[in-house]
Amino acid sequence: MISTGATKKIESLMARYPKKESALMPALMIVQKENGNVLSKGDIEETAKLIGVTDAKAFGVATFYTMYNVKEKIGKYHLQVDTNIPATLAGAKKILAYIEKKLGIKAGQTTADGLFTLHEVECLASCGTCPVIQVNDTYYENLTVKKVDLLIESLKKGEMPDNKARSNWGSACNVLLKNRGVKDAAKLSVYKRKGGYKALEKALTMAPEAIVAEVKESGLKGRGGAGFPTGTKWGFLPKNNTNPVYLICNADEGEPGTYKDRQIMEYDPHLLIEGMAIAARALGSKLGFIYIRGEFDWIADILETAIEEAKKGGQLKEFDIIVHRGAGAYVCGEETALIESIEGKRGQPRMKPPFPAAQGLYGCPTIVNNVETFASVPFIIEKGAAEFKKFGPAESAGFRIFGISGNVKKPGAYEYPMGVSFNDLIAAAGGVDGDLKAAIVGGLSVAILKADELKDLNMDYASCAAKGTALGSGGVMVINDTWSIPELALRAMKFYAHESCGKCTPCKEGSKMTVRALQKIVSGQGTTEDLANVERLVGTIKGLTLCPVGEAFSVPIRAMVEKFRPEFEALIKH
């Protein structure tokens, strides 16, 4: 059932977007929230009718994203335990097992009293504060068995306890994290007092081409993962274009091990807004979107408040920003899937060409950049490209927030110039907890490096490439020698199989097949044929898929098998 209030809300959303179909995802969430956190088929049909899409479309969307509960019912408290690699390294499996025992249910089940539903979920982007449980919309971080007890007892009494978390951070550059420790920095007045919106002021006096030229000159490369030069991307917009230009900030932060963008959005939202406003000036965009992962509900609220404040404060005169919440899909970090998602569709990547700069959102020229990329722009405009280039080596200019997780003593977000040595970074994070075995340095989708390969590694594009890995999203997962690589490989592979959008065969079927083969090996039932199957799959899938997800799992799994083959072979029965 959709209440009149909800109908009104949905109708105003339909009017807010350039195309009403874009309101489908937020509409489904509104309807779900007012119906006991579940979406019945009747609700889906009603929503479809309201938005004006077919039942099949709405159902396809509702079942694509994991945050929609297309079920009969769900417990009053939905306990979602992150067990992805960073969480596992922090002991999440023990927490999960403890909750299962405590509640007497398995993951996927609901307690008889209907109070709790327990699920094992994928990376919640709290890698530095793992283990983490999301209870309905609220994150509970730094969990211990004791904290779980307190949490469950409190929930049984119908109270959501305070969710304050302790998190580590540090900055050697004072740009992206400069306001991290400042009280109320999310407020416009505080941000301005700290020197904010000066860059935008300057940009508004500059010719758009001059802004693009400055960004090009700075050598800024995209911080989302692929490291594509930002100025060059901006230059791809078609000339003499008469269509609207859309600007999209990618705040999906889905890559396991990555939790850097939230540091900016939660603690310094105006830095992002200022960066986007400068980009909008440079590119002639009147409307931008921040596509934020749905689990970051409270951060989305912070952004919306900040945007309102910026509008009222006269910072966004000719540019508006819509915050679009995802609903649980890693693949929506891929820019064309993200665009489809904003259009109110299943988040499946598009075939390229055409590229978004030519034909993106609603078929119009679109530029997609990561949060950290946009947040680096105000510095470049205010201080100049030359100042920016003083950070980091020539081909990897600038600063970056590295998210360190796993087996270090002080996991956290640390801002450093590009090219910082791996050792210095780990030292900043309190040093390795135990004996270093390996690390994955650019988010889960890059090749693992063994301890000896890490010794002289610098955190820049070239140094990583020379080691056969990539800087990716700057999410560093440190693994000590208590972990079995085949087990981590299986857990990683389960993530990709869960997140495959299902559009193309090699990833859709191949990811699951790789899980099956790894599962057999890890369970001790495997044979050399299973290992050969894994190798054949990951060896062939790379470069065969429609979007980079195929590569995102074939590369890391292949590296794990190659570098830790004896561990896999030891599990195989002869």
Binding site: D55, A56, G60, M351, C501, G502, T505, K520, T540, L544
Partner: protein, 350 residues
């Protein structure tokens, strides 16, 4: 323009894709998700080739030909990739061709045959199969055989615009659904059978044809649909003198393969016992068999008689909706031009 495929020179038209050019030149590249009417999808990834000067494998269905382009369709890397795709599809579906309706006209089977795959090498026991959907009278959906190519979805939504089908779930659990996952028979499906026509495998089949004939036993006879004025082109699949299936003629105008439920499935009437097969003339309250000439002469003389006696407006004509446009045109010509009356109408007008 010209391109080289496997060392052979192929003439192609600008704008063609490599897949289309290869096909036109008689070179087979396995392909599953591409269909001329549903377009490039880039989903199956089986149509990959190598192109000189381009890095890695290229998806031939989404690659435009260029003059002088050199394409290889049988390199070890290409074959390994194609083999993996087909292995995966065979392993994750229930492809026991023997009783499958599509045996002999299945694009997956063709690809497997080309690649020399007898059965998929992956043997893991947690591969589960879905139940077939037999709820609808004319169209049957067997998800076990579905390869998620998406042709039916595009066809249902964009070709016939019935907007019934879509994909639901995601990843390896992705499936085709009618509306919000209703049995086809309870859904808004109008049983036009367009999805069945474009399905490359045996996942969507025509119920009426099941068990009637193997694909190689039939021959195709082209005709025009007798139901309405649109005049859709039909391919009758005949086993002996019996129709076992009707499909829309892909290259035939005006329908380009599309049909409605009547044209596709309503062909039983031609075998009806009480079907009229010759003219009958009623005399003294009794019908008697007559020749066409006799019947037409009789009708003509009656019209003449009426017009002579009472004037042209004493007669009127109603053209039958089941006659083709050209016949209806001639009918109004007869009334307006020859009989000199405007009393002419068509039964589908109201």
């Amino acid at each position: 323009m010209k391109l080289i495929i496997n060392g052979k020179e192929i003439v192609a038209q600008p704008g063609m894709t490599v897949l289309e050019a290869a096909k036109a030149g008689g070179i087979y590249i396995p392909s599953l998700c591409y269909h001329p009417r549903t377009g490039q999808a880039g989903k199956c990834r089986v149509c990959v080739v190598e192109v000189e000067g381009m890095r890695g494998l290229q998806v031939s269905c989404n690659l435009k030909v260029q003059d002088g382009m050199s394409v290889k369709t049988k390199t070890p890397q290409v074959l390994a990739a194609q083999k993996l795709v087909v292995d995966l599809l065979l392993a994750t579906g229930k492809h026991d061709c023997i009783a499958c309706e599509s045996n002999g006209k299945c694009e997956l089977q063709d690809a497997a045959y080309y690649l020399g795959i007898e059965r998929a090498p992956f043997k893991y026991d947690d591969i589960h199969y879905a139940e077939g959907d037999k709820s609808a009278p004319f169209v049957r959906l067997d998800k076990d055989k579905c390869i998620s190519c998406g042709r039916c979805v595009v066809a249902c939504n964009n070709q016939v615009v019935n907007e019934v089908l879509d994909f639901a779930q995601r990843g390896y659990r992705t499936e085709i659904v009618c509306d919000d996952d209703k049995p086809m028979g309870d859904s808004s499906c109008v049983q036009c059978g367009e999805c069945s026509q474009v399905c490359p495998v045996g996942a969507i089949v025509d119920v009426k044809s099941v068990g009637k004939a193997r694909s190689w036993e039939t021959k195709v006879v082209r005709t025009t649909c007798p139901y309405c004025g649109v005049g859709c082109q039909l391919d009758l699949h005949m086993k002996g003198d019996q129709i076992v299936q009707v499909t829309g003629t892909e290259e035939g105008s005006p329908n380009k393969g599309k049909l409605c439920v009547k044209g596709r499935y309503g062909y039983d009437f031609i075998y009806a016992e009480d079907r009229l097969t010759h003219p009958l003339i009623k005399e003294n309250g009794e019908f008697r068999k007559a020749s066409w000439d006799e019947a037409i002469n009789l009708v003509a003389s009656k019209f003449k008689e009426a017009i002579d006696k009472y004037g042209p407006d004493s007669v009127a004509g109603v053209s039958c909706a089941r006659s083709i446009n050209e016949d209806s045109y001639n009918m109004q010509k007869l009334f307006r031009g020859v009989f000199k009356t405007n009393n002419i109408d068509h039964c589908a007008r109201t």
